[in-house]
């Protein structure tokens, strides 16, 4: 029953100390806004790197003297591999034709070459989930063991770079989110601590009348929650305003902004994240209440 009374006390306190609370809400909102921006940056970077495997392929160069039967065997072995999405055989003639297509007007460089110097090859596209450094390395090693494969080529350097960028962005993002979350908790902690000291005499009287720890803590925890939710809602409004005014309008003139994705789940989560951080700050601020 005392929860209702605690809620009333918390609302009264929020209103009574409205300026300090408003300042806290705005600070929390700024922190949550930064967290959201960091999250969106990492999310979009992750999304962008997830699309890269679609363009990733391995080139398997074949020995010159392979029969059609042997090529067919290699193709069926590859297609049976769970990591392989599809495999395309490129004969020597097809390879030369494709090269000429690439060179276009500069095909004079091939004049004077009597014999086709290009080897037959197989282009292998991998399944998205198989495009990781370890899996590609293992697959390349397995393929090299297949009889008739002269050489295996893939963008190892490219794959390493993508992995490093992704891991770096994730680590930096996580670090930023942790620092900002700690900041938000600290703001709630400080505000509740100030409120607690301002009402110290009142709390002492509560204790002497027989109030339990729960009764004493509840209004402050609720107050921390209100500040957190307030900050969450303000940052939600800020994020939506940024999304609709900046990105939506800019995308009309600069289509590059169209590729930026804002997951709507994050919008809804913001007040709840604020609530959780606010309550955590309040709980830490109150610590252990002693009766004697």
């Amino acid at each position: 029953m005392y929860i209702l009374y605690s809620l009333r006390l918390a609302i009264q306190s929020v209103w009574h100390e409205k300026w300090i609370n408003l300042l806290s809400v705005l600070t929390i909102a700024a922190g949550l806004f930064m967290i959201t921006l960091t999250f969106f940056s990492v999310y979009n970077m992750d999304l962008a790197t997830k699309k890269l495997p679609e363009k990733f392929s391995m080139m398997l160069y074949l020995n010159n003297d392979l029969s059609e039967q042997e090529v067919g065997n290699i193709m069926s072995t590859l297609k049976k591999n769970i990591a392989v999405e599809r495999a395309r055989y490129i004969s020597k003639d097809k390879a030369l034709e494709e090269l000429k297509g690439v060179l276009k007007n500069a095909d004079y460089v091939l004049e004077g070459i009597n014999e086709n110097p290009l080897p037959a090859s197989i282009e292998v596209k991998l399944r998205q989930e198989s495009v990781s450094i370890s899996k590609v390395k293992k697959l390349a090693a397995d393929i090299r063991k297949i009889k008739g494969i002269e050489e295996v080529e893939y963008g190892e350097q490219f794959l390493n770079s993508i992995h490093s960028i992704k891991a770096g962005a994730q680590t930096l993002g996580l670090l930023m989110i942790s620092v900002m979350s700690t900041g938000v908790i600290f703001v709630c902690y400080s505000t509740v601590k100030i409120m607690f000291y301002r009402r110290k005499e009142e709390i002492e009287t509560f204790k002497l009348l027989g109030a339990t720890r729960g009764f004493i803590r509840a209004p402050f925890v609720i107050e921390g929650g209100i500040l957190g939710i307030g900050g969450g809602v303000v940052s939600l409004i800020g994020t939506m305003a940024l999304y609709y005014t900046l990105f939506y309008k800019l995308a009309l003139t600069m289509p590059i902004f169209k590729i930026i994705v804002f997951p709507s789940e994050v919008f809804i989560a913001l007040p709840f994240v604020g609530l959780a951080l606010g309550v955590s700050g309040a709980v830490i601020a109150l610590g252990r209440i002693r009766f004697s």
Binding site: L208, L209, G210, T212
Partner: protein, 220 residues
């Protein structure tokens, strides 16, 4: 109801209570008297667990205080109504809310709270002051609000620390009458005072304390 056995309380180099032993029976009304600094307030503070004794044992009803868990302290305090020397009224709350606080901490519904507070305000003749704030009341009225807050939870023990401190003789007599009425309903009452007028001709037990020691006992 209240049993002190060889209780001592020492603050740094100064002993506030020394080897105190006494008992107050259930339903009794008694007084503790002595000069300022004799140890009266410390003795009451030990009963409502604001202070812990350094030596000896204290039992309130079936509660042995030294064995009491900290989390149980609030529940013991709900059985002890205290009239504090410094009133401890909250200036930002009106009379009704100051008294209601003692019931709200018990988790009572607002309906029950209203019923009980209005009833107790009638007992102390302050029903018309329910919406007033403590600072607008006289000393005697404030004292009656404190008594109302102390008895609204129907405690088994009522402690009063210098309840007539700054009150005129007539108001003080009224407060004493009020304690007698509360006691007549079965509540054990212990009043700490240096005002001899308060217990003169009451026919109640008076414990004399001086320099932290009980120096005598007489009937008022």
């Amino acid at each position: 109801m209240i049993h002190f056995t060889n209780v001592s309380k020492i603050y740094e180099n100064h002993a506030a209570l020394r080897d105190i032993t006494f008992s107050i029976e259930k339903g009794e009304m008694a007084f503790i008297t002595g000069p300022s600094g004799a140890g009266k307030s410390t003795l009451l503070k030990i009963i409502y667990l604001s202070e812990k004794p350094d030596e000896g044992s204290v039992t309130i009803a079936e509660w042995e205080l030294s064995k009491l868990k900290e989390s149980s302290i609030p529940f013991l305090r709900r059985n002890i109504g205290v009239v504090f020397q410094d009133f401890r009224l909250l200036d930002n709350r009106n009379v009704f809310d100051n008294i209601a606080m003692a019931l709200r901490i018990r988790g009572m519904t607002e309906y029950e709270v209203k019923e009980r507070v209005m009833e107790v305000l009638k007992t102390v003749n302050l029903r018309h002051k329910a919406d007033s704030f403590p600072k607008t009341l006289s000393g005697g009225e404030q004292q009656r609000v404190v008594i109302a807050r102390a008895i609204v939870g129907e405690p088994t023990v009522l402690l009063a620390d210098e309840p007539t401190g700054n009150l005129d003789a007539d108001t003080a007599a009224g407060i004493t009458r009020m304690f007698k009425e509360i006691n007549a309903k079965g509540t054990t009452v212990l009043v700490a005072t240096h005002n001899k007028e308060l217990f003169r001709n009451t026919g109640r037990r008076v414990l004399k304390i001086d320099n932290g020691t009980i120096v005598g006992e007489e009937m008022g």
